[in-house]
């Protein structure tokens, strides 16, 4: 059976450090404002007791990718293993995919004048290496999971701030933090 690769983002572990985002930027030598992975602050009360919580997302390699449908040149393909690949050679930089993606994932490269997005580092995966962001997270908070194989126990597909998953059926899943005890003065 074909694979269904997706990210599993452990918010319980994530310290919001942005190392994933910046290691990706560094490895792919992206322009200063471009991000293939983005770390975003979650609402403070996401688990009840107030905490600093973050979530790190990249392309969600959706089952039903809106980017692919929008693209006039057919630059997007979905591989057997589920990875949604953007072929920059074909891209004409119309930015429609960026509009159509519910997660605003594809970003314009102002120098190449083409779109750019997370490839799940498929060329690394293909030779048995982990994606940079997965390998470089100091907390090992990101994993690649074949969701056709396993459904990690406490993984959820929806979290606050994450757009309606019924649109494109993203493969990314999350592990939500467990609230700790707090004794606060205020």
């Amino acid at each position: 059976m074909a694979k269904k690769l997706g990210f599993l983002v452990n918010i319980e572990r994530c310290i919001g450090c942005h190392a994933c985002e910046i290691s990706c930027k560094s490895f792919y030598q992206l322009e200063p404002n471009m991000r293939r992975r983005r770390v975003q602050e979650l609402p403070e009360d996401v688990v009840g007791t107030p905490v600093r919580a973050f979530v790190s997302t990249a392309c969600n390699h959706c089952d039903d990718p809106a980017c692919k449908k929008a693209c006039p040149v057919g630059a997007y393909t979905k591989r057997e293993d589920g990875i949604v690949v953007h072929n920059q050679d074909l891209c004409i930089g119309c930015q429609m995919c960026g509009k159509a993606c519910p997660y605003s994932v594809p970003m314009f490269n102002p120098v190449k004048k083409k779109m750019d997005k997370c490839s799940m580092c498929y060329d690394r995966l293909d030779v048995g290496q982990l994606p940079i962001c997965v390998e470089k997270c100091p907390l090992e908070a990101i994993q690649i999971v074949d969701y056709n194989e396993v459904q990690p126990a406490n993984a959820v597909s929806e979290i606050p701030t994450f757009a309606d998953t019924s649109i494109t059926h993203p493969t990314t899943h999350f592990i939500l933090p467990k609230p700790g005890k707090q004794s606060r003065r205020f």
Binding site: R13, I15, G16, C17, H18, A19, E21, I22, S23, K25, S26, F27, Y28, Q29, L30, E31, P32, N33, R35, V39, E44, P50, V51, R52, A53, V111, E135, K136, C137, P138, L139, E140, P177, G180, K181, Q182, S183, R184, R185, F186
Partner: protein, 733 residues
Amino acid sequence: MLTENFSRRTFLKGSASLSALLGLGVATSQAPKGLIPKAQAKSNGKVEQFFNACPRNCYDTCSIVTTVEDGRITFITGNEKNTYTKGRLCVKGNTYPRVVYSPDRIKYPMRQKGRGSGNWERISWDEAYTIIANKILDIKKEYGSTLPICLNKYSGNFNILNYATEGMLSSIGYTTRAQGTPCDPAGSDAQGFDMGAPYNNDPEQFLDADYIILWGANPAWTSAHSMYFIEQAKERGTKLVVIDPLITQTASKADEYIQVKASTDGALALGMIRYILDHQLYDQNWVSQNSIGFNEFFSYVKNNITVEWAAEKTGVPKPVIERIAREYATAKPANIWIGFGMQRHVNGGAMVRAIDALAAITGNIGKKGGGVNYIGEETWGFNYSTMGFGAPEGSGGEADRYVNMNNFGAQVLDANDPPIKMMWIACRNPMAQDPEPTVVKKAFDQMDLIVTADLYMNKTVEYSDIVLPVTTPFESVGVNVSYWHYWMNVNEQAIKPLYETKSDLEIAMGLSKKLNQLKPGSCTFPVTGDPLEWVEKEMNDDIKALFNVKSWDDLRKNGGTAKANESITTAWKDLKFRTPSGKYEFYSKTAAEYGHHPLPIFTEEYKAPKEYPIRCMSPHWKFGIHSQFQHQDWLMAIQAHPFLEIHPDLAKKKSIRDQDIVKIINETGYMTLPAKITKMVPADTVVMYEGWWKGVNYTENFTVKALQEDMGEHLKGQRGIAFHDNFVNIEKA
């Protein structure tokens, strides 16, 4: 072009005209826009990898692997061979390619006409050396010594070879030195009194802990690699307790977070101790065999401390204190990590002594996975061969003179006989990082010549006469160890220095050459030398044995990183303390000699003045190490300006809404910045993170007074600064 000029201009606070900017030796239009596309670099072939060491003032002191393609760095990441770095870097380390190829780097030596004018002119290295050497010789002639020359160097780069700057200054004669450290002085003295030295367990031992208390430490931001071991331990069932006035990123990960009233941790520790004594949960054996003064201490506690009182004092409910005390005392081993931030108070040293006592009575000291971990320097036994040349013949004066680094401005102004006339600043940004920057500026105003060696146009460089462009770690060689973990990391030269940059060691040799040209024999520092030979000279037999390496070069060839052997990775394993008695000293005569109470007693916190009732804390920031990293565009793209964290209750009282501009003010100064309303801070406290932000004309220190900590002079020569005992008022701007 336009945007680059524009950002340069805001960078310089609009102080310079555009024409002046054109003469600026900082990379502007020729600067690399982004980096060379990888594919392009790859096709031309040559890919090499080098080992580097992150030399920042950071617990983690990472071992780095740098990929170079055709002479250009294409990727920088962690070294997998180092089990602490584990092949990955923190967010800051991941920006290193940008640090190297930043459009903002200083390219050439420059001279500024009018301090702070922004009117910089490019000069040659020879011109720079000549101006500086002449000034040194003039001063020596006029004052009969080089004491009017003052060095302020600290934490920009902890490469062992970088002590060449200190060596260079020693080589011209006796000089004035900024002494001390802003990081850890009070706590280090406290541990010095208790145990003879601060000495911490290998942080990889968090995995062996049954219970972890992070006491005023925020490793999620300040030591990301430690946080990994802590999270791992947590997942294996170790309980993580975080004690902090703020719900830090670390506290957000705790099984239990305890919001203590700032600067009352001594009361909390003593309250726990009282409970432990009352319930016979202490390690009678350990105490009687390994300590002195426990009877005095126990009776102090019994007579003066109650849990109720501690609850009152700290704001931590009595049942919580009792529960944590019981849990801590019964977990084996239990690990405490005391952060440096915790002790930046007027009673910081006393607080650390109380926490030490808690660890001691429960017998957690000397245990693998346990300990009361603060800082350590066991691996720092290098030769420091750059420092050993001594004053030249005929130097006036008898010894170096010291001023407190933590009260630099005021003490420079106070120094007379002779006054201070010239300043050499390296690895330091006192205009941003020191308290009372206006006083620092006044001290600068008194100088005939200010020379700053740096990579970027920071606040201090802006107010200097000459700037010397220095290299990044990737353009020079060295060796690094940590004050926290037990690894030694080599630093190879990965690329040729960009532009006209030089390492501090090369600068030392260059200046010495010029001095000897102008006046033979005026500087004892070598005038030539291969940095590779210099670094090899740092290795002595003890270091080689400790790390089981033959030489620097051997280490370079074999993975670039080595861990000290197990003889030292568990602190006080042999229970031979370095105190006068050789035991753990609850009763410290040394402490008394320095004017403190001999016992770890409670000392009161600093009280808020009436007009300024709000505490303003300035802890360390995740996207910066002080003046470094935050100003890089990669990080500015995430967070571009400082902000003030305010509790919703306080905000409401002051009619401040999220993102409103607030003014924070006290008798020392004021600043305005946007508010971030958040429950992460208590309602009597506001927080702004420290560091140097590009395009902002203030720093968090604008309201910080040079209020001393209680300790520091014993081991660090000088007391530290109570950065967090800063009280202000706030209003909507």
